[in-house]
Every structure is written in C-alpha cells, then in structure tokens.
C-alpha cells in the first residue's frame, strides 16, 4: 500500500536515509526500528512531506507523494504523531481533535460570520465526533482541559486522537510508547490493535521499546546509519546477525 523505492535524503554531506526500499502491506502493523540516529524519523518526515526526498520515490497506492506539502499528504490519508509531542498546548483537548478534522469541515467564511445553518450543523457534528475520538482513546473526562495540563500519557493519546480525527488510512506513530510506564504501554498496545481492527488502519510505528515492538508488529524494517539492514517477521529479526550487530556491536555477535 505504501511503498518507497531507493528513498534517499542527504543534509549537506550527511546521508540520513540512503536507498531505502520499504513496502508496507495494507492492514498491517509494521515497525521501523533501529539505533538512535538511524534515520527513522527522517524517513517518516519524508513520507509526510516535512522533508522532500533528495532522490527516490514514495508511492501510496498508485499515487506519488514526493513533493507534496504536509497538509496534502494528510488529505491523501496519512496521519502521524510526533516523537516529541506536538500538541496545540493552549487549546482544549476537544479543540485539538477538532483541528485534526480540518480537512473534513466544509463551510466558508461567509456561513461562519452569519452562523448559517450549514455552519451550525457542521460545528455541532464536529464537536460530537471529536468527543467520540476522545472517548475512543480514553480521554472523554478531560475534553475541556487545556492540552498542556494533561499527563504525559494522556498527551500521547490526545495526539493519536487528533491523528485519527482526520480519518486516515495509514497512521504513522513516532515512538508512541516513549516515556510511558508499563501499564500505559500495555494500554497503548491494546489501543493499537483496536485501531487497526476497528478502523481498518494500516499502522506504521517507530519504537525503541523492543518488548512492545516484538509483541505487536507483524513485520519489521531495521534501519542503521540510514540504510535498511534487515526486514522480516519479529522472530527472524530477533535472530538476525546484522541487527544484533547494529544494536550491540560486532564483538557481541562473535562472543555470542
């Protein structure tokens, strides 16, 4: 469904992502892993239009995503969350989710200023839908709270709710479990399964929590120094020489 061919991004002399070929199947939960600085977030940023690739191709179905602006990528059905949480801090949880629905709200400035029925109806429905998304991720109680006042785990879930509100086909999660305690991680795992099954989502995640990754993902891609060093099912990756090398160093492999 989402496919990259020879995707490359260089910043000056540094090649952050180098000739990466990845094919993500529809309806799968796929993980992109790798040590720090392997180019995972850069890879996400290219898919979502934050960076333009230096070369290579990104295909969503039959459409190329190269050169599209982030808001257009969102329109095509790709939503994301961020490694360092990016919420609209001074807005309420509900408003945050309503921003996510931006593409789907169809009314103009004119009907806004005159509060035409079209506007009122759309806003009312939007509020209810946004509330449902908050319910879905378990934040219904705090819908009127300012985003910045929420707990860390709640902020992560609010980001997911906002991403879901734009009704994506593919959801990219950038380190969703970072900073979570085991209980929160467990809840997140359940939520990821639930989203895939309820909403027919394709989920791609970057994650360092290996327990979570091995448990949840059906397929993995491993990046190191910007290059794809392995791909496969969790068990295959677990025993892959190159992967162990990348994470633990060469000597770890020889002594093992």
């Amino acid at each position: 469904m989402l496919k990259t061919t020879n995707l490359t991004k260089s910043f000056g002399g540094l090649t952050a992502v180098n000739n990466v070929n990845i094919d993500i199947k529809e309806g799968s939960i796929t993980a992109v892993i790798g040590p720090n600085g392997a180019g995972k977030t850069t890879f996400f940023n290219m898919i979502t239009g934050v960076y333009t690739p230096s070369s290579g191709e990104i295909m969503l179905g039959n459409e190329s995503l190269v050169g599209l602006k982030p808001h257009t990528v969102n329109k095509k059905g790709i939503s994301r969350t961020f490694q360092n949480i990016r919420l609209f801090n001074s807005m309420t949880a509900l408003e945050n989710v309503m921003v996510g629905m931006h593409q789907h709200l169809k009314y103009g400035v004119f009907s806004t200023i005159f509060h035409l029925p079209k506007f009122k109806k759309a806003e009312k429905l939007a509020m209810r839908e946004a509330y449902k998304w908050l319910e879905y991720v378990g934040l219904a109680d705090v819908y009127n709270e300012e985003a910045s006042s929420l707990s860390y785990g709640a902020q992560r879930r609010l980001e997911i709710a906002r991403a879901l509100a734009s009704q994506p086909r593919i959801l990219l999660l950038d380190e969703p479990a970072a900073g979570m305690n085991p209980k929160e991680t467990k809840e997140l795992t359940d939520l990821i399964y639930q989203m895939r099954d309820d909403l027919n989502l394709t989920i791609v995640l970057i994650e360092h929590d290996m327990k979570l990754v091995m448990e949840i993902s059906e397929y993995l891609f491993v990046l190191d120094h910007g290059e794809k060093i392995a791909e496969g099912k969790p068990l295959e990756i677990r025993n892959n020489q190159k992967v162990i090398e990348a994470y633990l160093g060469k000597s770890a492999v020889t002594t093992a």
Binding site: H71, N74, F88, N89, M91, T92, V99, H102, Y107
Partner: protein
C-alpha cells in the same frame, strides 16, 4: 463586606441592581457635571462591570448597546463638552477595531506585525485621494472625485484594498518567522509611510508631506455627517460588524487553524492545515478591519498626512493588544479603550491640571516634564507593570468550554431507548 461581595458574585439579581444603580448614578453625575471627565469615564466603566456580570450573552449585548447608543450620548449631550467626549469615544472605537484586527494577526495567528498602521494608512489614503481633487492629478473622468455619498462604499473598498495589501505583503514576508517577521513588517510599515510622504512627485498623488485636506464629509440621504456626535454612530456600526466577525471567526474552523498555527506549525500542517493560506487570511482579515477604520478616520479628520501613520502608532496598537490580552476579544477591547483614553483624556487632563498649578505658582514644573510629553515613558511603565503582574493581559484569553449536553449525542440515546420499547 466579604459576604456581600460573594453574594454579588453569585446572584444575578444583585448584580442587576448594582449595575443599574451604577449606571444611574454615573449618568446623573455626567448629566449635572458636564465638564467632569471622571464622570464620563465612570460611565464607560459600567461596560466593564457589565462584562463581569453573569448575565446571558444576549442581555449583556442589549444593555451594552443601550448604554453606548442612548444613555451615554444623551447624558453627555447636555453641555459644551459633548463634542470632545464624542470625539474621544469615536477614536476609542477606531482604535478598538484596529486592535481587534491586529489581534487576529498577533494574538490568534501568532504573527508579530510591527507595521500594522500601514493598512490603516492605506484605507485612509484610499478615501482621501479618491474623494478630493487629488485624484484629478492622475485620473481624468467626469465622475471623479467622488462625493461624500461614496463614503459608505469606500468603507468596504478601503477594507478590500487593505486586505489585498495584506496578502501582497504576506506572500513574500511569510517565509520568515518570529523576530524576522517583526522586522520585515516594521520595514513595510515605514515604507508605506515614506511612499505616501514622497508620492507628490512626479505626479502629485498623495500630497506628500502636506497631506490631503478638505476630505468631504460623508452624506446620507442628503444629511451631512460632520461632527463627532454623528461619526460616533458610524464607528459604532463598523465596530459592531468587526466584533461580530472576529468573535464568530474565532470559534470556527478558521479560528482553530489560526491558533493551531500559532501553537505548533508542524503539527498544524500534519493535521491538514494549509500553512500559507491560513496565515494570509489572518493578514487579510486583520488588515481589512484596519483599512475600513482608515476610511472612517480620514472622513472624520477631514485632513490626513503621513505623520498620523508612524511607527509609534503601530506600537501603540500592539500595546493595546498585549495589555488587554493576546487572543482575547474582550481583553483587546479593554486594552484599546484604556490606552486611547489614557492618551487622549487622562494624560492631557493631568497635564492641564499641573500647568494650572504651575501658573498659580503652587508648584514649579518645567514643561519638559509634563505628562503628555512623557507619554512613551508612561506607556513603557504600564507595559512593564502588566508584564510583571498580568503577563497574559488584563483579561486573558479563555478557552471555549463546551457543556456536556452539547457534545453527547442525544439522538443515539433516543434511538436506543426506542428499540428497547419496541
């Protein structure tokens, strides 16, 4: 005393009685003491009290409109100071509208604009040029210059031209952010002023440093609007439209996307918001309010020159927004009213009073120290104090709190109960 205050906070009835009494007392005060600026200011203060009540929004608006359109003008009209009161009130209205415009740009969209007065200048000059013989210097049509009748159309035209200028400024400028944006807009503001200052050669379009005089008064049904008492109502109408527009835009898709862009550009884009378009609309809407009021301003003053549109004006408008509370409509209205009144009435009153004392030989105040000369210092002091004690402004922006019943889908519940009863 404390229980009385608490009671006042809770009971609508008590609030109503208190507010009514306040309005009556201050009105009588101004009615009998026509020369008392204090009485005039106390009447205006009733609007702040009204804002603080728990009355339903519609009732608040009705009382506010009643005070502004009937009570205040009537009680002020009994003496010779009427014109000056109305003049001040008119200018307050003009500045409130401009501050609300800047609030869209700075407060909601988070784009620091230090050249905002340029749009005011564009609106002012649009009407001034096309309604005086100035236009005949470069355009030769029989219907030019337009008469005072055209003023009403020019309010809209001024708004549109200012909005276009806003977009034209925005397209190149929005590549830069934050401090850089502030400097570029500052430059733009100065460029516009200098262009107007020098556009008297080779073709005399703006009258140069001399400005444009004998701008015609607006006419409606053959009636000429030429005093502050009448302009006051024109300003009120435009202001009402501006307030309606900003409050409604703020709670819409557009308002949310402005705030989202202000809070986090990358996340806003990832949520499907077109960054450049959203910012340009903020520039255009903010500028258009300013442009509309520019037209009113030039018609009211009947004379404009580039000195009305200096950097200090831009800063003053920004001070209004920051003092009142960025992103907060009631705050910005309060901030603009306070700053304008302080400028026009309080500082001049205090200066007059001190001058009188000096003349009488009570104190010896050198002219260099008179408060009206220290305007900037006093502004600075106010800003510093506000930054320390009210960093979010006098009336900080509040988030819209949605009541539960608006949000839980009642229809679903009904349907469910129906299936059960079947």
């Amino acid at each position: 005393m404390k229980s009385l205050l608490n009671g006042l906070k809770q009971s609508n009835k008590l609030q109503g009685i208190f507010l009514g009494a306040y309005i009556i007392v201050t009105s009588l005060g101004l009615y009998f003491l026509q020369e008392s600026v204090t009485a005039f200011l106390l009447i205006l203060f009733s609007l702040y009290l009204l804002y603080k009540t728990n009355f339903p929004v519609k009732l608040k608006w009705s009382i506010g409109i009643l005070v502004l359109t009937v009570i205040m003008p009537y009680v002020a009209s009994q003496g010779t100071a009427f014109e000056s009161y109305m003049g001040v009130a008119t200018l307050v209205g003009i500045y409130v509208a401009m501050a609300l415009g800047l609030n869209v740009v700075v407060g909601l969209a988070g784009l620091l604009d230090l050249g905002f007065v340029a749009f005011f200048a564009i609106g002012s000059y649009t009407y001034a040029i096309f309604s005086t013989k100035q236009v005949t210097n470069f355009l030769h049509f029989d219907f030019l210059p337009f008469s005072g009748n055209s003023f009403w159309v020019f309010i809209i035209i001024g708004g549109i031209i200012a909005a276009i200028a806003g977009v034209l400024l925005g397209i190149p400028v929005l590549r830069v952010k934050g401090d850089y944006l502030a400097i570029v807009t500052l430059g733009f503001g100065e460029i516009i002023r200098i262009v107007f200052n020098n556009l008297d050669k080779p073709v005399n379009i703006t009258g140069g440093a001399q400005g444009i005089s004998s701008i015609p008064a607006p006419t409606i049904f053959g009636l000429e609007i030429d005093n502050s008492g009448q302009f006051y109502y024109v300003v009120l109408v435009v202001l009402a439209i501006v307030i309606l527009a900003v409050t409604r835009l703020q709670d819409s898709k557009l308002g949310r996307s402005w705030k989202a862009v202000r809070e986090n550009e990358i996340a806003a884009q990832a949520s499907g918001i077109h960054l450049v378009r959203t910012k340009l609309i903020a520039f255009a809407i903010g500028a258009s309010f300013s442009g509309m009021m520019g037209v009113v301003f030039s018609a009211k003053q009947m004379f404009i020159d580039p000195t009305s549109f200096t950097l200090l004006e831009s800063i003053t408008i920004l001070v209004m927004v920051i003092l009142g509370g960025m992103g907060s409509v009631p705050g910005v209205i309060l901030g603009a009213a306070l700053v304008t009144i302080l400028n026009l009435q309080v500082l001049t009153e205090v200066t007059n009073y001190l001058n009188q004392l000096t003349l009488d030989g009570v104190i010896n105040l050198p002219p260099a120290l008179s408060p009206s000369k220290m305007q900037r210092m006093i502004f600075g002091l106010i800003l510093v104090l506000a930054a320390i004690f009210r960093p979010k402004g006098l009336l900080p922006a509040k988030n819209k709190i949605v009541p539960k019943e608006d949000i839980v889908d009642q229809t679903v519940v009904e349907e469910k109960t129906r299936t059960v009863s079947f």
